[in-house]
Symmetry: C3
Subunit: 108 residues, 3 copies
């Protein structure tokens, strides 16, 4: 597949610095949503095991994936159990609505 989606679920405290670092390395676009969830860090015997995280989604080309993943990990890592995850999914097609064209690079 010609494209990838990188999804990161990170601590909301790290969202601003991750966004800034991704812009610095030239990531031309991303989406952010707030999610609730539990993970490695959850105390399942507590009533408030659901914590708030931020989910970042980036569509990109395969050769940019490693730099994006490493930048997110470098910036979001604290060593705590709620640091979150970064996942990479295959993407078949990416169209720019403005130009109606399939993207040839990652400048969506």
């Amino acid at each position: 597949m010609k494209y990838r989606k990188v999804t990161a679920i990170i601590n909301t405290d790290k969202l601003e610095s991750v966004e800034a670092r991704l812009q610095e390395i030239g990531v031309p676009g991303l989406s952010v949503t707030k999610v609730k969830g539990y993970g490695e860090y959850a105390d399942f015997y507590s009533r408030d095991w659901m914590t708030q995280h931020a989910r970042i989604e980036i569509f990109t080309v395969p050769k940019k994936v490693d730099a994006i993943v490493q930048t997110i990990i470098d910036t979001a890592q604290t060593g705590n159990s709620d640091d979150g995850i970064v996942v990479v999914l295959p993407v078949e097609k990416v169209y720019r609505i403005r130009t109606r064209a399939l993207a040839e690079d990652d400048t969506f």
Copy 2:
């Protein structure tokens, strides 16, 4: 893979008309979330470079993908740099919870 996911990140001003057009062409279901993000249109030197867009997600079968993508582009396109993107991802399985069965078509 037998199914596809179409994700469109569009200007919220276009959400209502895109939803109406998708219903007209027979799309039987979709989900909408509001997302914040930046893209081609962002002014990285501005403090408010994060704009609000709508993300539409549609699960469908491969033969319906092109009509859905073209309908979204036709309806959401303004020519501005914040028009957004449409992406297509492979999907392995789609189950209807009501019937417990794997979907045979796109009427989820």
Copy 3:
């Protein structure tokens, strides 16, 4: 691909019991977002055809997928047309931010 993403779009009334059952079968993490949408249940001639559902996302390994899907269906099913769907997508990579490592199992 070594990983899968299970996405379930369910009635919000069923969210709490689905989360509890998923913890009981050992699902170590999940994310939840509220979505609006329409589906099989929608009355397209009504103005309020957009209903609120919950979207659950779980990253896991292939051998756990069937148990997760069946648990969600068992718990969320009412027989009504707004019961929702469960879908399975391929995932290429899952990194834990805390350890910087690719996940070897589903304890993300």
